[in-house]
């Protein structure tokens, strides 16, 4: 084992936490515990993945892998023996989680509430499933723990007592969130009941975590709180600034709930920091952010996982520890980097099969992380389930009800087979999106073609297929599908079916197709049509920026990308668009700066690395340019243009014939393939 920078690690998950909401609270001194982490450690954005669905994301955080490898593909999955569907389970994860790897290395690990986390895994410490906290019966009725909720089983009686039922809370617990509680008729208004449940659930998880930290030896502890996501889905529309459609009286009552939720989490964080002690490295992360400003959607699409439209592309990361930098920002982190980083904190190698990388920039001492081919090949007890494990169907049913009520999944069809087919379609759709997120368009294409062929009424599938075809440079095939979808959408519109109006999205895609067909003026026309329904939509202006770039109207392109940034300052694509426009205007320093901004926001962005390389090449920063092209090619090995430039750089400027030759060989292989 290499040098071990951390004695022990506490990994805290705050689902949906977002700096945009946190920063004003930090400035006002209302999150002192988090402020102490920020001031004494590193902080940054944590780029999420697509699709941004929490069980997939938290599994990527815990494995360092995309969902095509880890196997959790959505909220629900078919149950064994064709018995309908069930929420995703730990038994469906195909690879080791961080805690399994740490256990194999003799470290004592505990896990509380991870999602998916049921049934509890038989690790060497305590594992509390994510079904633990849900009160499913009134307070005066039995409320037993389901089998598989606690590992080891003999600890059930301890953790049973630590649960808080929502009815145990009082008005005093609600009033910090809703000071005017007495004005509310709770018989008619259900929001207060929802609030009580969110608070009780979070407190229950916190009780379990604090119990373990005080009473058990530990080297690693992971605890996941889902409450911020629930506070936000329930109350973000009441968060300041006031949204036009929200009635004044409702706004007055509930405007403080989201901030109250963050303050409550900060109080719990203070206790965790205290119990962890100064020798513990603390890593706090969220899986995605949450739109809280003018980018909040005004409605939720009635499609599976529709509420995910409220999610923002950047979650948070904050790390503090003896060997972690102090008061620094880190850039380009993704949630795939968490597992490799924590392995490095223990001096353990990262798997080459992991999609993330150690966040070396966060460490005080620079180092090159050790690698092994895969942790999957390492034998020995890792505390995973035996393959034939069956889980408790009742616990699964309750978790299903919660997901249905949140709007993440539709009510399953009574017909089991129909429900299974729907669920399978949904998870295939998510898998295709995962492939597209990884720029594996050839792998996504057959999945989307099959989905669209079998479900021509599912406009979502067709739209995603068009996007995929466009990435593969097939505008004619895209146009054919778009024409079919337009007919269907028009039919739906005439029938006045209450469902998503896709018109502006169709215009947007039509714009992209025209652009791909090299008809920029027609593209502009389509986009202007879309603008009538999608004003202040960053995606629309990105497209318009692309059209101006195609037309070589660089000043107009720059203005448009700046308009995107005025709407959404963290938009990596807009920074990249600016970098390209500045390059064409021979403003190379500005181009390099914008490319760096894009990479800082979204590290896995091969085109941004390419344009950074190009800008650096022009200002004769040859070594840095070569580094940028190398990174670009690691992410997109088929970008032959980058490889040719790299060969040229190694041959003519850096005098490295060995590397030039290696890349030439790869170029030949790629071209012959």
């Amino acid at each position: 084992m290499a040098e071990r920078p951390a004695k022990r690690v506490l990994l805290i998950g705050w689902d949906a936490a977002d700096w945009k909401i946190i920063n004003p609270l930090l400035d006002a001194g209302e999150m002192p515990a988090l402020e102490s982490l920020v001031n004494n450690g590193v902080m940054g954005n944590l780029a999420t993945l697509d699709p941004p669905l929490s069980p997939m994301m938290w599994t990527s955080i815990a494995t360092g892998m995309h969902a095509d490898k880890h196997g959790i593909q959505g909220f629900i999955e078919p149950a064994p023996q064709a018995q309908g569907v069930r929420p995703v389970m730990t038994t469906s994860r195909k690879v080791k989680a961080l805690w399994n790897i740490l256990m194999q290395n003799g470290l004592k690990t505990h896990v509380v509430g991870w999602w998916p986390g049921h049934p509890a895994e038989p690790i060497n410490g305590i594992y509390i499933s994510n079904h633990y906290q849900r009160a499913y019966a009134p307070i005066d009725k039995p409320w037993h723990l389901h089998p598989g909720t606690i590992h080891p089983k003999e600890m059930e009686s301890v953790f049973d007592q630590l649960r808080i039922h929502p009815a145990e809370l009082t008005g005093a617990h609600i009033m910090p969130f809703v000071p005017e509680l007495k004005k509310i008729d709770q018989e008619k208004e259900k929001k207060i009941e929802m609030l009580g449940k969110i608070i009780a659930d979070a407190a229950t998880i916190h009780n379990a975590a604090t119990y373990i930290m005080e009473n058990e030896p530990w080297d690693f502890m992971a605890v996941y709180y889902d409450a911020i996501d629930h506070f936000c889905h329930g109350f973000i529309n009441f968060h300041p600034p006031k949204m036009e459609f929200v009635p004044n009286d409702q706004y007055e009552l509930y405007q403080g709930v989201v901030n109250g939720g963050y303050r409550f989490h900060d109080m719990m964080l203070a206790r965790l920091i205290e119990l962890a002690g100064p020798d513990t490295t603390i890593v706090l992360v969220s899986d995605h952010g949450f739109h809280s400003d003018h980018l909040r959607p005004t409605g939720i699409r009635k499609i599976p996982a529709g509420p995910a439209d409220q999610h923002r592309s950047y979650g948070v990361i904050c790390m503090k520890g003896r060997n972690i930098q102090k008061d620094e920002r880190i850039y380009g982190a993704t949630l795939l980097d968490i597992t490799p980083t924590i392995l490095s904190l223990y001096g353990l190698p990262t798997g080459r099969d992991m999609d993330g990388h150690t966040l070396v920039q966060a460490f005080k001492k620079p180092f090159v992380p050790e690698m092994i081919d895969s942790w999957e090949k390492v034998e020995g007890d890792a505390g995973m389930h035996p393959v034939d494990l069956q889980e408790d169907p009742w616990a699964a049913q309750e978790a299903m009800q919660q997901l249905i009520a949140l709007g993440y999944i539709e009510k399953p069809d009574k017909n089991k087979q129909k429900a299974i087919t729907k669920t399978t379609n949904e998870s295939r759709f998510y898998l295709a999106r995962v492939y597209m997120n990884k720029s594996m368009f050839q792998e996504a294409l057959p999945i989307l073609e099959k989905l669209y062929k079998k479900n021509p009424d599912e406009i979502r599938f067709g739209l995603q297929l068009i996007r995929c075809l466009l990435e593969l440079g097939a505008p004619e095939a895209s146009q054919k599908i778009l024409d079919e979808i337009k007919v269907l959408a028009e039919k739906n519109r005439k029938k006045k079916e209450k469902q998503t109006d896709y018109t502006p999205h169709l215009d947007l895609l039509q714009g992209r197709i025209f652009l791909e067909k090299n008809r920029p003026m027609q593209a502009l026309e389509s986009l202007e049509k879309a603008e009538k329904m999608l004003s202040s939509h960053p995606g629309l202006y990105l497209q318009i920026g692309s059209v101006y770039s195609k037309l070589k109207f660089w000043n107009k392109a720059i203005d448009t990308y700046q308009k995107v940034l005025s709407l959404d300052p963290d938009n990596a694509q807009a920074h990249h668009g600016l970098a390209r426009a500045y390059l064409r205007q021979r403003r190379y320093v500005e181009a390099a700066e914008e490319a760096l901004e894009a990479i800082g926001l979204l590290y896995h962005y091969p085109h941004a690395h390419f344009n950074l390389g190009l800008a650096l090449l022009r200002i004769k920063r040859f070594e840095r340019a070569a580094e940028a092209f190398e990174v670009c090619l690691r992410m997109a090995p088929d970008m032959n243009r980058a490889r040719r430039l790299l060969i040229h750089l190694y041959e003519k400027q850096l005098n490295n014939s060995e590397k030039a030759e290696a890349h030439r060989k790869m170029l030949e292989d790629s071209e012959s393939a």
């Binding site: 009082t170 207060i192 407190a203 889905h233 409605g299």
Partner: protein, 77 residues
């Protein structure tokens, strides 16, 4: 799209049974001030267990007081 009115009709993320109405006053058995309420939860299991003990003590004291009151009522006819 669901509009705001739809969200109003079905705002709860949870289908668990309705439990209680929360009151803005502190009842005798749950005697915690508003400013300390979340602090007790944030303390974790120790805070919650201490709060539950306190509630039990208060309940016992109240029961005893009621018992004495009833006794004295009886004695005074």
């Amino acid at each position: 799209m669901t509009d705001h009115a739809d969200q109003e009709k079905n705002p709860s993320p949870d289908t668990r049974p309705r439990t209680k109405h929360y009151t803005s006053y502190e009842d005798f058995y749950n005697d915690i001030p508003e400013e300390g309420s979340l602090g007790i939860l944030a303390m974790g299991f120790q805070g919650v267990l201490a709060w539950r003990r306190k509630k039990e003590e208060l309940k016992a004291a109240r029961d005893k007081q009621n018992f004495s009151f009833e006794k004295s009522e009886e004695n005074h006819g």
